[in-house]
Symmetry: C2
Subunit: 432 residues, 2 copies
């Protein structure tokens, strides 16, 4: 019965007709879902999926991304003290700077599984390395799903053998195969001009619950044909992470397995970007931040039970970092999230969440607005506050909450979703 | 419509037949409720209640506690940066060391009301001071309820006039009158021997949602007939707070108004306790900690939507403070709380919550038990783990969750409740 300990409500694919071993639970596609975008192929990147049957289901749950020789890699990972073997290895592997393959296992996070879990990952790295003729440490592995069950080595071996020989597939198939409790496939695309060369960035991501990335998010992968040095790719990925994945939260619960990896094949033929002084560095960094923001927001749009997508915009903080922490305090507050679920412009709860954030704030300088309408300014309720437009705004699915602290020039935006009966149902009503 | 911004779901008295202005919501008494205990009178303390009608209800909502001359006072307050006027004044008043009166307003927290809120508090202090013939700053005021609506001065004036002339009442009446969303009246009693003198301690408390006291809890009051110097009373109250109020959480949301005050009339006639070297100091501190723990646990037992009372016992941390922070990370995790609501021994979520706590931990030394049965030891699931007794334990209303970190000798216990549909209903389904 070890599969009762799960990372999230794994094994249920909402919006799909999957019946798992212990559970028949079918959830609707998130009302905040976006359609999967058109995404171009990335030269040097080949996608394949297969059925390893890590759970008792009939779906592709093993994803294999083959990367051409010379692909740069960078990554950001959870800061959890109980991180999975995959995360621990990944932290070391990115230091090598190059990658030839990515394997993603869905249905089993392999976290908290000691040496047996580590053996399974090493087996996969060796098997893929032999198949591609590369060093095992150029094979990156991620796993998501049940915590505490070692990844079954026999299923992994057969799955890898199958996927190495399968036909290439498209982005949507890969996005589906890495999903667990996600209710829709998530991908994003951006591009940049580097001199006269146009480079493409494509990314896929999964995540729905246990979302409060500390340095990264559940599992996200970005692929680009740009030529870029690994050290600089790492630098700009970390910077983008601070403004994107680290600014989303569904439930404040940080996963053991959060990982975002960026792979750059160099096939676009641009002059390699080495530093901020290289041509196109700013444009590429902007495109990378753009795709990271899109992917991060997609995770919030699939937040467990979410009915509203909420942008918490904090300004007037003593620093950008302080603004982010105030934003997260608001975005993680159960009372704020339930108020918005109830379409209640309960700014008193926002005052509370600002006050508990542990950041510099002054009650008598604080202003709060919903949908651009100030409810409180300078520490007091606005006289003759007209609630009608605010009530109308809160009936919508896209909520804008602005907080001005009046302390300095720091600003930042955090994205979250509301807290509804759906979250309780997914995580309490159904035994996993 | 400013009363839409509320501190909690104020105005609804669950378990009572109160219909408020905007809302007819009657909630059942918490299944974790305890009966109100027998509590002796404290010499030098006189309780009175009256109807100020701070909301459109027919109940006593103004409490007046008269204290004899020479009463020592100590207090701990929220660390919120957006604290109410009452809290700001209280922080200064306790430095004086003596008190003659306590006024508690229920139904309006008077928080985030600027100068108008401050005027209302000063009016009450002056009016009570004139009535008793004492300095206004010996009159302590607390308020709980709606955030953002200045306490109405006319109702306060009439209420105070009425309560000054009303007949004395008992502890239960006072505990009822300070309540807002509470579903049962909360009181506790302890006693200590100081030399040959027996001293009594009686306390009342209110709180149900917005509970994550940072230095104190919602509103709690302890009265004793012991003779004790204010500075030492402050010292031992702060110490007790660290082990009691600061170790409970319902929803992780820290209020703007958290206050705990201790009043000592000295009427027991013991030799005054001046320091740890005084006779009976240890016994009195133990009795104070005991009553604080009882009161704090009563708040958790009335947590919004709570169906289970959960003790999270953390050992093997690098320090006691680290153990408490790990315990709070577990106790505030929506995924842990919903798992327990679903009677699911989902220890993988406990691993997650330990990992995200930001405290020293080592995945491969971590052990987790429910109801005394180890599910995981030393970083791996227990072989042949028998889930039957754990499942039985989780069906009960009193849950014991033990986490051994294997890092050092630090230990601590945190108390919380589960996260259920009831919490969502109270805070989202009903407009306030």
């Amino acid at each position: 019965m070890l599969n009762r300990s799960i990372e999230s409500s794994c094994g249920q694919l909402r919006g799909r007709s999957i019946i798992t071993n212990a559970l028949a639970m079918e959830l609707e596609t998130s009302p905040l879902a976006l359609p999967f975008p058109e995404m171009p192929p990335i030269e040097g990147v080949t996608l394949r999926v297969a059925r390893a049957r890590y759970k008792d289901w009939d779906r592709c749950d093993l994803t294999f991304v083959e990367l051409c020789e010379g692909t740069s890699v960078a990554g950001v990972f959870t800061q959890s003290a109980c991180a999975s073997t995959e995360v621990e290895l990944g932290r070391k592997q990115v230091n090598g700077g190059t990658a030839r393959a990515l394997i993603v296992n869905a249905g089993n996070s392999n976290a908290f599984t000691g040496y047996r879990g580590a053996e399974a990952v090493e087996q996969i790295m060796t098997q893929v390395g032999e198949g591609l003729g590369c060093a095992p440490d150029q094979v990156f592995v991620s796993s998501t799903g049940v915590i505490g069950v070692p990844l079954p080595k026999d299923r992994a071996r057969e799955g890898v053998a199958a996927v190495l020989n399968s036909a290439p597939c498209g982005w949507k198939d890969a996005a589906d195969a890495i999903a667990t409790t996600d209710t829709f496939a998530k991908g994003a695309h951006s591009s940049a001009m580097i001199g006269e060369t146009r480079v493409e960035l494509c990314g896929i991501i999964k995540g729905s619950g246990m979302i409060a990335p500390d340095m990264a998010t559940m599992l996200g992968y970005i692929f680009t044909d740009a030529a870029i040095a690994p050290a600089f790719l790492q630098e700009i990925l970390a910077e983008a992470n601070g403004k994107t994945y680290s600014c989303i939260t569904v439930d404040g619960d940080t996963s053991t397995s959060d990982t975002v990896l960026a792979f750059a094949t160099g096939k676009a033929g641009n002059a390699q970007i080495e530093s901020w002084d290289s041509a196109g560095a700013d444009a590429f960094a902007a495109a990378l931040t753009d795709i990271c923001r899109s992917l991060a927001q997609l995770v919030v749009r699939d937040g467990e039970g979410a009915s509203k997508f909420i942008a918490v915009r904090v300004s007037g903080a003593v620093s950008d970092a302080s603004a982010r922490r105030v934003g997260l305090s608001i975005a993680n507050s159960p009372l704020v999230k339930t108020a918005i679920a109830g379409e209640d412009a309960n700014w008193g709860r926002v005052v509370m969440a600002v006050g508990k954030a542990g950041e510099p704030a002054d009650r008598d300088k604080l202003s709060i607005a919903f949908g651009g309408v100030w409810a409180a300014r300078g520490g007091v309720p606005v006289e003759n506050y007209d609630e009608a437009p605010v009530a109308e705004h809160l009936k919508g699915a896209e909520i804008d909450l602005a907080v001005e602290l009046g302390m300095g020039d720091g600003a930042g935006t955090v994205w979250t979703c509301d807290l509804t009966h759906g979250y309780i149902s997914i995580n309490a009503d159904y035994r996993s």
